[in-house]
């Protein structure tokens, strides 16, 4: 199953699909590998099947989701190879040819690619609150995924659910569910400093459509009579074997709401494990409170043969990701000699202008939905931080204050946080935020986990089946 190409694109969301379409037009032999059985990424998840089998749900999900159809159609007709259901567990960078290791339908394969473009998108920022590991607690993204991909909604059998946190996705999900006739019992909104966003308003207003969409969602929720508690400062989910109740502090007093489901959200961050596993240089983005790979304006990373585009390179939103995907495809084509620099500048002009517009909207959103400290560094000692290894906040703090643990890697080796199956995806940011808080230093000084391949759960048998040289000189008695 070994093959070769000019450009391997990892991820078929907006950035990956747009990059693939552009790259094929530029004459690059392009292969797209994506984990899901259908293109679209998380944002356009399930769109082809939904449009074909339950088109009425398009109205529930709204025009921004439906817009993905056009991009998907272009992707489907582009002259590329598309490996759906392919899990990329390792990219080994090399000057001339990178090796992309993947698993598809039970077999392992290696793709040799002159350039690799990482477009693996975003994931939701971990939001550790007491009880967030209880069954019935999901992320807003999860709620939206099952709505899109499966036509599933919460609140069945007269059940009650709330959405808690902040960010555009939270409001969007609430509105989508409301349109589907499923009304949240409440929205527990955690935005804490609206005024901080104000200086960034001009850029936001200049970006097309953003303000109207935001206000539209709020109007819709208000018209539907969804109770919205703004400025919630504390949350705790309670239950024995399942979420039963959410306790929250709002307006200076404690409130309780019976629930069957809770959907948490505290914004999105780059889905970083693949980029980290390549040892790409990273920058701490304080406005987005997350690390992102250090990139030039075209998406080139610190490793010459690796590019990153879309939310994986820093949050830009679906439309921004699409533009960034195209920009990166132009860069790859230029670096591979398919077009010259002048042609690249000329042809990429529109995509770059679009990207700039969408980027201009970010500072406002980043400031408005900046997570308050209690959501990124849980104050309660009992709150689980590492869900896999069940490491609690108090233990992490104690290791820093009492044992002078300097950073996440020493922390990992002492208490096993980040050592479980999720490989630190769900605790990495929390752990570095907490260490930074305890040491009273910027997060950038604390660093991040050293992430190693494989970044997907391949088996020992898969590794044994890789078509690479054996090294009996280095292994054996």
């Amino acid at each position: 199953m070994n093959a070769a190409c000019d450009l391997a694109i990892i991820g078929a969301g907006p950035a990956g699909m747009a990059a693939a379409t552009t790259a094929s037009e530029l004459g690059l032999a392009t292969v797209v590998l994506d984990e899901q059985p259908e293109p679209g990424g998380q944002i356009y998840r399930g769109i082809e099947r939904l449009a074909a089998t339950r088109p009425r749900h398009l109205e529930i999900l709204g025009p921004d989701y439906a817009a993905g159809l056009e991009l998907t159609r272009a992707f489907r007709t582009a002259r590329i190879d598309y490996f759906d259901s392919a899990q990329v567990w390792q990219v080994e960078p090399a000057e001339a040819v990178n090796r992309v290791f993947y698993k598809r339908f039970g077999s392992v394969g290696i793709l040799n690619a002159k350039k690799v473009l990482i477009t693996v998108g975003a994931m939701e920022r971990p939001m550790p609150v007491p009880g967030w590991t209880l069954p019935g607690v999901l992320t807003c993204g999860a709620g939206q995924t099952v709505l899109k991909a499966n036509g599933l909604g919460p609140g069945g059998n007269g059940g009650r659910f709330v959405l808690a946190g902040c960010g555009p996705l939270l409001l969007l999900l609430a509105a989508q569910l409301t349109r589907a006739g499923i009304k949240p019992a409440a929205i527990l909104e955690t935005t804490f400093n609206r005024w901080a966003a104000l200086p960034h308003l001009p850029g936001f207003l200049a970006a097309p459509g953003y303000l109207g969409k935001g206000l539209g969602l709020l109007r819709e929720l208000k018209a539907a009579g969804v109770p919205m508690h703004k400025g919630v400062t504390r949350l705790a989910i309670k239950g024995d074997t399942q979420a039963r109740e959410i306790e929250f502090e709002w307006g200076g007093s404690l409130h309780r709401e019976p629930v069957d489901e809770v959907f948490l959200h505290q914004g999105v961050v780059p889905n970083g494990n693949l980029a980290w596993s390549l040892n790409l240089a990273h920058t701490w983005d304080d406005a987005q409170r997350a690390y992102r790979p250090t990139l030039d304006a075209w998406g080139r990373s610190s490793v010459a043969s690796i590019l990153v585009a879309g939310d994986a390179g820093g949050i830009v939103g679906a439309k921004g990701a699409e533009a960034m995907g195209r920009v990166a495809a132009f860069a790859a084509a230029t670096d591979l000699g398919k077009i010259d620099h002048e042609a690249c500048e000329r042809q990429a002009r529109d995509a770059r202008a679009t990207l700039d517009q969408h980027r201009a909207a970010r500072p406002f959103l980043d400031a408005l939905y900046r997570p308050a400290q209690q959501w990124i560094a849980p104050p309660d000692a009992d709150t689980v931080v590492c869900r896999c290894e069940e490491v609690r906040a108090g233990e992490i703090r104690r290791l820093v204050t009492e044992q002078h643990c300097p950073g996440p890697n020493q922390m990992k080796s002492f208490v096993r946080c980040g050592m479980g199956p999720c490989q630190g995806r769900l605790c990495g940011l929390t752990v570095v935020e907490m260490i930074a808080e305890c040491r009273q230093v910027p997060v950038s000084e604390v660093g991040y986990y050293r992430i190693r391949p494989p970044v997907k759960p391949v088996t020992i048998g898969d590794m044994a089946a890789m078509d690479v040289a054996v090294r009996h000189d280095a292994v054996g008695l």
Partner: protein
């Protein structure tokens, strides 16, 4: 409880969740099937035996590990169901047969 929205096509597959045959629309993942038919924990953790259930539905959190067709610790949110698939909740550490 999760339930299907109105206007969902009628086509169904049968899967067996913890020994009970249930039906789900095609294209469902094993984790989505659990959300529809098996509220509550889908596994207990290997450390403190805590109940857990699907959380992110996009393959990053590894909370929806479940036993699918006899093999434990599979990410239920990444496995598309097929007719007759056996999906079980799992408990603690995986057991292996020699």
């Amino acid at each position: 409880m999760f339930s299907l929205l109105p206007d969902t096509p009628r086509e169904r597959l049968n899967v067996v969740i913890n020994g009970k045959t249930v039906s789900v629309p095609p294209g469902f993942t094993a984790a989505a099937a659990m959300l529809l038919h098996n509220a509550g924990a889908t596994r207990t953790t290997p450390i403190n035996d805590e109940g857990r259930a699907p959380y992110c539905m996009m393959g990053v959190c590894f909370e929806c590990l479940m036993e699918i067709n006899g093999e434990a610790n599979q990410q239920g949110c990444l496995v598309i169901v097929s007719e007759g698939m056996r999906i079980n909740t799992q408990h603690g550490k995986r057991e292996v047969q020699a």
